[in-house]
Amino acid sequence: MKDYDKLFRDLVRAQVRFVLIGVGGANYYAHTGGQLFATQDQDIFLPSDPENVLACWQVFREDGWDLWCNREPLGEPVDLWLAEKVVSHQAAVKAGLGGDEIDLTLVMKGFTFEEIWEERRLFWREGVEIPVARLEHIVRSKRAVGRPKDHLFLTTHEELIKELLGREESKEGNTD
């Protein structure tokens, strides 16, 4: 099992600016374990700031994660020059450790990083405050991306949201 607790603590401690997005981010708005979407991946949105990107990579490497870009190891040395190149190409970097993967993306379709950052939620996770994108931003971006798997996620998510709201409404009814 990966030590995500340590990873997120280290990212926060290193003052890396990041926001959790994607299905992994949407899961933080679930109500019960049964409403969580199974996903192997986590998506982390980073601003197009080479120094921040480098700081993020360094935390991952220190925590034992391998970094990949276009299915190849990121390369050495992992330095500011490389971070600038990745930022200028808006390339996605993947972090992998023992079968788990985290996408480090500089792009969230339909939004800038600052728009997402401005309205992020800060949720506690094992004593660390984790920035998570607004659920509305996550689902709007998924629609904008438009891949069949994103649209299927939204269709399924609609059912879940209805179920959740129905539960909330019956709770309110019971308190009257």
């Binding site: 899961n27 374990g33 969580l36 800060l122 949720f123 094992e126 069949p148 949201i161 709201l165």
Partner: protein, 75 residues
Amino acid sequence: MNDAPPLDFEEIRREAQTAVEDFLTHRWDSYLEAVRRIEALPENQSGADKTWVDRARDAHRARYRKVVRVERAGK
């Protein structure tokens, strides 16, 4: 058990596509409204403790990591 008709994946794909188009065309706005209501719940405000989400996800993954494929008798 083996008499079941084969799955028609093309038909399944068409049905899924129709469901998606119907959702995006007719129900998107009401879905977004519902999403905003979920976001407004007290447990979804900054400061909420969501440790349980990761624990539930980890438990789910740990359970499926233990799954092994077994050959059926007669194969």
